[in-house]
C-alpha cells in the first residue's frame, strides 16, 4: 500500500470509513471541520449519509437516532461544541447507544483560541455530563494513530454499546504525515451484539450478555422496544426502584473494565529509567525526544504514554510507575491527568507537573526543564 500524505483530520475521516462508518451528523467548528468536510465527500459516494445539523446537540442527536437505526455513526467537534454535546453523551451512556465523538482540542475556556492546540478537555471528557458514568476516551499521538484509533473507537463503541470519545489537539489535526492507511480485515471490525431469535414480545432490550452488554436490534427489525434516558429495567421501561438502578449503574461501569487492556499504555525506554515522563497525545512525541536527549547526557529517562485516558489503566500505571521516585507529567493544560497519576501512585512518588498554556505545543526544552528539576535535586529512582 502506498504511503499517503494526510492530515490528522483527514486520517480520522478515512479511519471512520475504514471502520464502516456510514453516518455523520455534524456542525462546523475549528479545528475539526476538515473531518466533516472530508466525510461530506466520502460518505455519499459509499451510500452513507452526511448531514450538517443545526447545532452540536442536534449533531449527537442525529448520530444516536441513526445508530438506533443500525448505522455506524459519528460526529466531530471541538471544545465549545463538545460542551454542548455533554448531555447527549450522558444519554448515550445510559441508553447504551454506540457512537463515536471526535473532540479536536483547542484553547479554552470559552472561544479561547480556535485554531491553537491544547489538552484542556481531558476532565471535560471524564466528568462533563451530569451523573456518574464511565467513559471511553482515546488519545492518539500521531496521524497514523488517529487513523488506527478511529477504527478502535468504532470497535469499542459497537462491542460495548457506549459512546467513545477520540481526542487529539489542533496540531495533530492539521499536521500532515506520510502514512500507510491499511484497510482492517472483516475480523478486525467489531459490531454490536445482535439478537438472533425472531422478534417476540418477551425480548428484553437491556438484558446483558456475559460481557455485561445487551443485545441490540435495530429500529425497523421487528423488535418493538423502548429506549429512554430515564433509569430503566431490563425491559427498557422507566423505573425508580433503587436496587434496579444500582444494578444498572454497576453493570454500565463493569462492562468498561477491559478497555485499558485492549489499548495498553506505551512504555518508551522505561525499563531501566530513573525518571519517567507521563505524557499523551502530541505532548508524548515531544516527551520522547526529551527522553532521548536526556539519555544522550547519561540520564536514564523514559516515557509512559496512556493511549486510553479513561477509564484509567490503574494496574499497569501503578505497577509501572509506582517504583519511581520522580515523575514529570507533561500536559497542555493547568494539570488534569496529573491528578490521576497523583491519585493512584503511592506517596513515595514525587510528581511534578509540567504545564503548557497559551496555544503553543509543549517544547522538548520545557520537558527537559521539568526533568532537570529532579536531577538537580539528586532525586533518583529506587
Amino acid at each position: 500500500m502506498a504511503i499517503e500524505l494526510v492530515s490528522g483530520n483527514e486520517a480520522c475521516a478515512r479511519g471512520a470509513i475504514a471502520a464502516g462508518c456510514n453516518f455523520f451528523g455534524g456542525y462546523p467548528i475549528s479545528p475539526s471541520s476538515e473531518i466533516a468536510e472530508t466525510l461530506a465527500k466520502l460518505l455519499p459516494e459509499r451510500q452513507g449519509i452526511f448531514i450538517q445539523m443545526e447545532d452540536e446537540m442536534a449533531s449527537v442527536g442525529s448520530v444516536l437516532g441513526a445508530s438506533l437505526g443500525g448505522a455506524k455513526a459519528m460526529t466531530a467537534t471541538s471544545g465549545p461544541g463538545f460542551t454542548l454535546m455533554q448531555e447527549h453523551l450522558g444519554y448515550a451512556t445510559l441508553a447504551e447507544i454506540p457512537c463515536v465523538v471526535v473532540d479536536v482540542m483547542r484553547v479554552g475556556p470559552s472561544t479561547g483560541v480556535p485554531t491553537a492546540p491544547s489538552q484542556g478537555d481531558v476532565m471535560q471528557a471524564r466528568w462533563g455530563s451530569h451523573g456518574d458514568r464511565e467513559v471511553a476516551v482515546l488519545a492518539p499521538a500521531s496521524v497514523k494513530e488517529i487513523y488506527d484509533m478511529t477504527v478502535n473507537a468504532f470497535n469499542i463503541a459497537e462491542r460495548l454499546r457506549t459512546p467513545v470519545v477520540l481526542m487529539f489537539d489542533e496540531v495533530l489535526a492539521h499536521m500532515r504525515e506520510g502514512v500507510e492507511l491499511f484497510q482492517p480485515s472483516v475480523e478486525e471490525l467489531w459490531s454490536r451484539p445482535r439478537p438472533v431469535d425472531h422478534p417476540s414480545s418477551t425480548f428484553q432490550p437491556y438484558s446483558p450478555n456475559s460481557e455485561g452488554v445487551a443485545l441490540m436490534p435495530n429500529f425497523g427489525d421487528g423488535y418493538h422496544f423502548h429506549v429512554t434516558g430515564l433509569m430503566h429495567n431490563e425491559k427498557g421501561f422507566p423505573t425508580t426502584h433503587p436496587e434496579t438502578i444500582r444494578q444498572l449503574m454497576a453493570r454500565l461501569k463493569r462492562k468498561m473494565e477491559p478497555l485499558p487492556l485492549w489499548l495498553p499504555a506505551e512504555h518508551y525506554r522505561l525499563k531501566d529509567a530513573e525518571v519517567a515522563v507521563v505524557a499523551y497525545g502530541i505532548t508524548a512525541r515531544v516527551a520522547k525526544e526529551a527522553v532521548d536527549r536526556l539519555r544522550d547526557q547519561g540520564i536514564l529517562a523514559g516515557v509512559y504514554r496512556p493511549r486510553i485516558l479513561w477509564p484509567v489503566g490503574r494496574s499497569d500505571l501503578i505497577e509501572t510507575l509506582g517504583k519511581f521516585q520522580s515523575i514529570v507529567v507533561a500536559e497542555m493544560n493547568q494539570g488534569q491527568w496529573v491528578e490521576v497519576v497523583e491519585r493512584y501512585l503511592p506517596n513515595s512518588v514525587r510528581v511534578l507537573l509540567q504545564s503548557k498554556l497559551g496555544g503553543e505545543p509543549m517544547t522538548t526544552e520545557e520537558i527537559l526543564d521539568g526533568c532537570r528539576e529532579f536531577v538537580k535535586k539528586g532525586v533518583r529512582a529506587l
Binding site: Q47, G69, N218, H226
Partner: protein, 277 residues
C-alpha cells in the same frame, strides 16, 4: 372494542397523566389512527422529547424513543435518514418543541424530511409544575408569571409554515374526530408535517387561571375569546383589571399544504419509496 387498544403497552399502565388532562384524548386518537393505518407497528417509530406529552410514546407498542429535552427531532432526523422506509412520528410539547427545542423544530421544517411532528400544546410546562411557556397567552398566570405573562406567545402553526413545513394543521382535544382526520392526513403527507394540538393542563394552567376542571377546559376550547374564568371572587387578584381573553381565536384544520421534494428524495435515499402510508 376501541381500535388501537392492543397497541398500548399494558405493563406501562397506569399512565402518568393527571385527571382532566387532554393528552389522553390525543394519545387515544393517535393509537386509533395507527391501528387503522398500519397492518403492524413494524414500520412505525415514535420519537419524543421530555415532558408530559413526550411520555406517551412509552405507552405505544412500537419502536419508541424517549430522548432528551427538546431534541427529539434531531434523533428522528438521524433515524429517518438511516431507515428511510420507516414512518417516524415525533411527539413533542410546546415547551419541548418551541422552547428548548425551537431550533431543531424550525430546521426540521426547513429540511422537509418526511417526518410527522405532533405538538401537544397545553400552553405551559406541565411536568415541572406549570411555568411560563412560549405559548402561554399574554396576561395568563403561571408559577413563574405571578403578575401575569408580559410576553406575547408563539403561533406554532404560523411559525412552522414560515419555516417551510409542507403540511401544517391545528386540532383540539375537544374534537378527536377532526383530530383523527388531521393526524391521518399528516402521516400520509410526504414531507415534514406538523400538527399543533390544543390540549389543556388542568392541574396547573387551569388552576392558576381559575378556568375550572377538565371538562370546563375542554369546552373552553370552543369559546374563543368569551370570558370563561369562573368564580372570580375566589381568585380576584389573579384577574387582569381590564379582563383578558384566555382563549385566543385560533384557526383550526389544515392550514397549509404544499408539495415539494423531501430531503430523502433530494438525497436519493434507497428504500424511501417503500414507506407505508
Amino acid at each position: 372494542m376501541n381500535p388501537g387498544k392492543e397497541l398500548l403497552r399494558q405493563e406501562m399502565m397506569p399512565h402518568i397523566l393527571c385527571p382532566g388532562c387532554g393528552h389522553g384524548i390525543v394519545l387515544n386518537t393517535l393509537v386509533r389512527v395507527l391501528a387503522t393505518r398500519f397492518s403492524s407497528m413494524d414500520q412505525v417509530a415514535l420519537v419524543a422529547g421530555i415532558g408530559c406529552s413526550s411520555r406517551i410514546v412509552g405507552y405505544i407498542d412500537a419502536y419508541t424513543l424517549h430522548t432528551t429535552h427538546g431534541r427529539a427531532l434531531s434523533f428522528a432526523t438521524g433515524l429517518k435518514l438511516s431507515r428511510p422506509e420507516l414512518t417516524v412520528i415525533v411527539i413533542t410539547g410546546d415547551g419541548d418543541g418551541l422552547g428548548i427545542g425551537g431550533n431543531h423544530l424550525i430546521h426540521a421544517a426547513r429540511r422537509n424530511l418526511d417526518l410527522t411532528c405532533i405538538l401537544f400544546n397545553n400552553e405551559t410546562y406541565g411536568m415541572t409544575g406549570g411555568q411560563l411557556a412560549p405559548t402561554t397567552v399574554p396576561h395568563a398566570f403561571t408559577t413563574t408569571t405571578p403578575y401575569g405573562n408580559k410576553e406575547p406567545s408563539f403561533d406554532a402553526a404560523a411559525l412552522l409554515k414560515a419555516c417551510g413545513a409542507t403540511f401544517v394543521a391545528r386540532g383540539q382535544a375537544y374534537r378527536p374526530d377532526l383530530l383523527e382526520e388531521l393526524l391521518n392526513r399528516a402521516i400520509a403527507h410526504r414531507g415534514f408535517s406538523f400538527v399543533d394540538v390544543m390540549t389543556d393542563c388542568t392541574e396547573y394552567f387551569g388552576r392558576k387561571n381559575a378556568l375550572g376542571g377538565g371538562s370546563d377546559l375542554l369546552f373552553s376550547q370552543t369559546r374563543a375569546d368569551e370570558e370563561i374564568a369562573r368564580d372570580l371572587d375566589e381568585w380576584p387578584r389573579l384577574r387582569h383589571p381590564d379582563g383578558f381573553p384566555l382563549r385566543e381565536i385560533l384557526p383550526m384544520g389544515v392550514l397549509h399544504e404544499v408539495s415539494r421534494p423531501t430531503l430523502e428524495e433530494m438525497m436519493g435515499l434507497a428504500g424511501y419509496e417503500a414507506r407505508e402510508e
